[in-house]
Symmetry: C2
């Protein structure tokens, strides 16, 4: 029996563990699930004969090392900052490792040691990063194989609420870490490449420079730029591409309304608001508006942001009840971002029977035989329920498939890596199709830079 | 003969040294001017019999310590970060010290040692900080002495171009460090107090939340908020004040036009622009606008910022020649802020015969015998030429006067301090009057919060 150690039994581990347990008989697997909270681990193993739940504190060296020594491959589903100690142990004890996280500098430094020991350290193999890498590289390699030259690559992903559960004016609910949504785009200007020219968007303009994306059967979406669209330029072999753009998808209208919070300063996470605990939502809003003994917070707000009385943005704000003088913030020494998050969680938390949705959209522009072409490729995955969410499925399945492929020596190239080689993406994308994670490709006229994005 | 060591013979040292040399006969003074560049020191001492110029590198321990040992008091006119080594030597050798800089944490830590040795370490005794402290505390103490209770304090300072040299559309030229102007307001939300409520303004709104200030004989100014208006709340004894606001003054219209740069991201100092060296000014502007093969940079700019064709803001931009495709940036790996600074220096550098101006405006609201009152106090100082500028005068004179007062034991309270006690401000403000640095006070109806600042 081969032993797989899964560390972290959080949201994204459900599908991963289910996949591995479903294969455990035919593949001779024991799946050991370790979590700092034993009951979480126990819940996901569900008394399966080939599963074992253990209490595991990643910071407890001896129990961590004992668990790692005792397995054949380690899957870390912990937050990215916790991988490195386990990764070092994997080097020491000669174990493969899989994570869905971005490759940190510390992780990258283990590349030489992993390579020398013949260990596969597969990272960025969730949905974004993960499925985006694999699905993009599959098309890019195919275009190259027939002699085409990539001149444009744009890639967008969104974690959204499924259409059947989409019942608020923002067309948005939190399907993942709410904090990441509130502080999205902060920390520096977004940088991308348009027709050979570097372009920069500061945070305060980010949500006003969106572009539209139509997905057949699902309608129109919009996307705002990620901070660094050039991150994978070299890894993807796109050093000669003229347009590179990566973004985050939302339903149309989200960004224009979100920009209101950005403009007022409500998404700032760098300082704490005085006496935040005893503020009403209305007091919080008023802290960003000038004092007046007579004018209402509503009128000051409309005036400051130039919001007409018939603007749908206003209804979106009212829906969140941000002008309530009854609802209290109740958070001590909270930043504006933390307070805003709390207000949003009142409205945007998934209900018991709500389902989520992952949407991905790639654009590939290329030259072949002197002519320009474009392929658009889209993927939509819907969640089943609150445990088997689209997010858990699209993160967990590629991790699980890669883990088994490494154990079965179908993926053998050692070293710290992400899934951008045929050896890795072909078998994984093939198997994902069986789980209805499929891309729909269409040939469209080459558009070049996005002409609507003025 | 008493020996005064002045370290740093930069812009702000001219008046300071002139004052001390003018008094050197009657007061038995030797003024030693040390600068890393000997010729700078030599220029300001002008072969005066009681002056001595020396080459002094603040980082060269032995020459620094020899110079400090050999004097009775040290005046450091270096940038604030360079004071601390000299300050520690002053403690070791028992010398008083004077600077015009904000009290750093490191400086504050020397308070105990300075106090124990009976040494006066006077700081923040230039113009802002300096004259603002003294002139404000004089009025605050007077109101308190007659039983009044301060409920509002607002304070504004501007370093501007004198009316006779005010010949551009921005009504602004660089009269001090240009870099500080370009990055002004960055690094966190501005915080202030209005009628008992904390208010916060994010950077992207800072230049749209100005208030107007009228100075008799000089017309109308505007002011944007400083980052921390509450910094001196306790030091001034204003813990019960309901409105506290500090700001920076500009001519009306500056901020609305400056906000264009803020919105586009051109003031960002946190990242470098690719290939900045070979960009034209037009390329730089275009980096913040979407690509188009046909639309002009001008139209994209107007559309992005919603600038009408007859908006004066547009003329201000044209005046700076920011759309030039001939003028080159020519700076390697430059940040947007560095590039913008270069563009502005083309237009905003003082000409040979230009004069500068310092403007200060305080508002004091108070309650006395159940009634509310307000005193507005204004000061305007004009420069004489490019050496004896208003900035050098208002920074250098209070430093010089304080230095002599400490030598003459008129200021004796030891420790690290700023000029907020009567012992300090009364004699200095009195003497400044002889140099035409005077405040004009007017009783006005109590207005409370600024009603125009919506």
């Amino acid at each position: 029996m081969r032993k797989i150690l899964v560390i972290g039994a959080g949201k994204s581990a459900s599908y991963l563990i289910k996949y591995l347990l479903d294969k455990s008989e035919s593949e001779d697997l024991i799946v050991i699930v370790g979590d700092i909270n034993f009951s979480h681990a126990k819940k996901l193993t569900q008394d399966h004969d080939n599963a074992q739940a253990i209490q595991l504190d990643i910071h407890d060296k001896s129990s961590r090392q004992n668990a790692i020594k005792n397995c054949d491959i380690v899957v870390s589903m912990l937050p990215a900052r916790f991988h490195i100690e386990a990764a070092k142990d994997c080097i020491s004890f000669g174990k493969h490792m899989v994570t869905a996280s971005y490759i940190s500098e510390a992780m990258q430094k283990l590349n030489k040691a992993a390579s020398q020991k013949g260990l596969v350290f597969m990272n960025e193999i969730g949905v974004d990063p993960g499925i985006d890498h694999m699905s993009a590289m599959q098309v890019i390699d195919r275009i190259r194989d027939k002699g085409g030259k990539i001149i444009l690559f744009e890639s967008f992903t969104g974690g959204l609420v499924a259409p059947e559960s989409d019942n608020n004016l923002w067309h948005y609910k939190f399907t993942w870490n709410p904090r990441n949504v509130v502080v999205a785009g902060q920390g520096g200007a977004a940088k991308f490449l348009q027709e050979g020219t570097y372009k920069y968007i500061p945070y305060n303009r980010l949500f006003r420079r969106t572009e539209f994306l139509d997905v057949e059967g699902y309608g129109r979406f919009e996307a705002y730029a990620n901070r660094d669209s050039l991150k994978y330029q070299s890894a993807y072999g796109l050093d000669n591409a003229k347009t590179l753009y990566r973004g985050t998808m939302r339903r149309v209208g989200f960004s224009r309304a979100w920009n209101i919070f950005v403009q007022l300063g409500m998404t700032d996470d760098e300082y704490t608001i005085d006496d935040s605990e005893n503020m009403s939502y209305r007091d919080f809003v008023n802290a960003f508006l000038p004092y007046s003994p007579t004018d209402s917070v509503e009128l000051k707000f409309r005036h400051a942001l130039k919001i007409d009385q018939d603007d749908i943005v206003w209804d979106k704000l009212l829906e969140l009840d941000i002008f309530s003088n009854k609802k209290m913030v109740g958070l001590k020494k909270a930043t504006p971002a933390q307070i805003l998050q709390k207000i949003l969680m009142d409205s945007w938390t998934l209900a018991e029977d709500d389902k989520d949705m992952i949407v991905m959209y790639h654009k590939f522009g290329y030259e072949l035989n002197g002519e320009k072409h474009q392929i658009d490729s889209t993927m939509v995955t819907l969640g089943e329920d609150q445990t088997y969410t689209a997010m858990a499925k699209t993160v967990g399945l590629p991790v699980a498939i890669a883990t088994l492929a490494i154990l079965n020596e179908k993926i053998t190239t050692p070293g710290v890596q992400m899934p951008i080689t045929k050896e890795v993406y072909e078998p994984i994308l093939k198997e994902l199709e069986a789980y209805n994670i499929t891309f729909k490709e269409t040939e469209v006229p080459y558009l070049g830079y996005n002409q609507l994005n003025l």
